[in-house]
């Protein structure tokens, strides 16, 4: 068995999220250094505020200002901050019940060490220098032993309300394709296409995924297929793909390699796009250093009879 293949894989996406009216007021408030809560029917003030009552599911919309000072209700010392977290020096995660609120807000608490943190300690918001209307407008909490500040009693109406946030997310993986696909990729490096045969129904899968989807059994017998094959069906691509240096229009096709019971796909070249047809016989064209065929071109053989590939459509 060849060496297990591995490659880094980064999944990254900037999620754009629209806000409900309560969230919009709360996050706009943070931009303006005002902390808002929302009143429930039973008179509790929820901070951070939510659109619906967590108990009764009633619509909530009565916004009230609370203080930027509060009390730690629980905490945890994080001596090794991770990517994306509010501080890059050791800090405490804390749930903080702000003065005037009945529920607690999660954020970081900047403190010199775990001995300086306890449940019940008084803290206040440290505002971020640059604020955009996001939870990160609170840079963190910091210890505070002063008086509870007066609040103006803001009603939650601001100029230029924030209506959405962009939340970038990135996760890093090390991808390994497993046994069957590793073997397939390994064969390609010597310009051979190797599928696997199902021990039960005898079908040859290319590329192999390690199991027969009809029989639900492991495939392991390796079978070299091709290099020639038959176009079973195709489409004409008229949209240029970003970062892909291929002139449009071009043909993208399903190709059943000789000996395979499953068609793989590839680009067809060496023939005008409007002359490609079902049944066309093709062969792979490799480029120097390529890890898979660059495209397939006509072999010049007569077209395959429909009956020979109709089960592979």
């Amino acid at each position: 068995m060849p060496e297990v293949l591995k490659a880094p894989l980064v999944v990254e996406f900037p999620f754009t999220r629209s806000l409900g009216p309560v969230q919009s007021a709360f996050l706009t408030g943070l931009r303006e250094r005002v902390v808002l809560g929302v009143k429930t029917a039973d008179g509790r003030t929820l901070v951070p505020p939510v659109e619906y009552d967590p108990v009764t599911a009633e619509d909530l919309d009565e916004l009230v200002e609370v203080a930027p000072t509060g009390t730690v209700t629980t905490w945890a010392w994080n001596h090794e901050p991770r990517r994306g977290q509010p501080l890059d020096t050791p800090f405490a995660w804390a749930l903080v019940r702000l003065d005037g609120a009945d529920t607690a807000l999660l954020h970081a608490l900047d403190a010199p060490g775990p001995d300086a943190v306890r449940t019940g300690m008084r803290v206040r918001v440290r505002w971020a220098a640059q604020r955009t209307g996001a939870i990160t407008d609170i840079a963190c909490f910091e210890p505070y032993d002063g008086d509870r500040p007066q609040i103006a009693g803001h009603d939650g109406r601001f100029e230029d309300m924030v209506t959405g946030i962009v939340a970038p997310a990135r996760l890093d993986y090390v991808y390994s394709p497993g046994r069957a696909q590793s073997a397939y990729i390994d064969s390609l490096s010597s310009r051979r296409t190797v599928g696997e045969r199902c021990p039960s129904c005898r079908k040859v899968y290319v590329p192999p995924r390690g199991a027969c989807p009809t029989c639900g059994v492991i495939t392991s017998e390796q079978v070299e297929v091709g290099p020639r094959g038959t176009v079973t069906t195709y489409c004409i691509v008229n949209i240029k793909a970003r970062n892909l240096d291929i002139e449009v229009p071009y043909v993208y096709a399903h190709i059943a390699l000789d000996g395979a019971d499953l068609a793989l796909h590839g680009r067809i070249g060496g023939i005008p796009y409007d002359q490609v047809r079902m049944g066309l016989r093709v062969e792979p064209v490799w480029t120097e250093g390529g890890r898979h065929p660059d495209h397939y071109r006509p072999t010049g053989e007569p077209d395959a009879e429909y009956d020979t590939y109709k089960e592979l459509l």
Binding site: W75, Q85, W93, G210, T214
Partner: protein, 351 residues
Amino acid sequence: MPPIRDVAVVAFAQSDHLRTTDELSEVEMLIPVLHAVLEQTGLKTSDIGFTCSGSSDYLAGRAFSFTMALDGVGAWPPISESHVEMDGAWALYEAWTKLLTGDADTALVYGYGKSSPGSVRDVLTRQLDPYYVAPLWPDSVALAALQAQALIDAGETDEPALAGVASRSRASAATNSHAQLRGSVDQGDYLVRPLRVGDCPPVGDGAAAVILAAGERARELCERPAWIRGIDHRIEAHGLGVRDLTDSPSTRLAAERAGAFERPVDTAELHAPFTSQEVVLRKALRLGEEVRVNPSGGALAANPIMAAGLIRIGEAAARVHRGESDRALAHATSGPCLQQNLVAVLEGDPR
């Protein structure tokens, strides 16, 4: 209200749970488990009336990974099949309801997860409130640590007691050949204080599967079926600061609805990935000292995400099958700090 049809767990299988399984794709990891569970009953994939799975694309970073896993059940030509982006325990819940409708008499349920390709502490931040919480990237250990500190402040536990949960769990796992952490395991340093390495579950890859069958079919397939006397799942408010982290009202309610409090259980398999969460669950489920808790070692011994909850049901059922339990409780959890909880009560026929 008793279920309208008797449904039982008739077979259970699981993989060895390992830190990494680089050499296997998800379906390659899963197939031996599917074959093992089918073999126990003599069923073929084509005999199964309904198939339901639980997994998450975020773990391995592969979109639609569950469709690849379906190769392992012989899903072509199309079978009656469903998937939940949750632990396999919730797939089992869906399969149970399917069997209750009478649409199927047998169901194959599986859950699997490969945590090794990514960083699971960071991956799990993506399940959090995307507006107020996820942008701060609080990892799963940090959130569990907040819960642990709340319990310590409330006088419900302390660090030595948590270490006791850890060592008892890994000692129990000594007889569980599938477990990832067994025997004597050092508590180690703080990961996020007050939780030490030993208070946290191992990160690893694994899979599990069970077969459900209804009525007489269950008796044909298994000598002593583990009848699902009740099963229910409940969720708490998503705001962590809204909840009392020292309690689990959702677990208690699910247990009540599953009939767990009607008679004592002799065994409980709890899905408590962190030591402190066992403290919360024991209280919510009113488990006394006479109940065997996590004889398998629980999630502290092996925590293949998306399978660990299903494994609790499977382990409890297997004890009933073997005659080691007459009435067992199985619990599964999902989300931060025991946010969502499922409770099932399993019984064997009187001996």
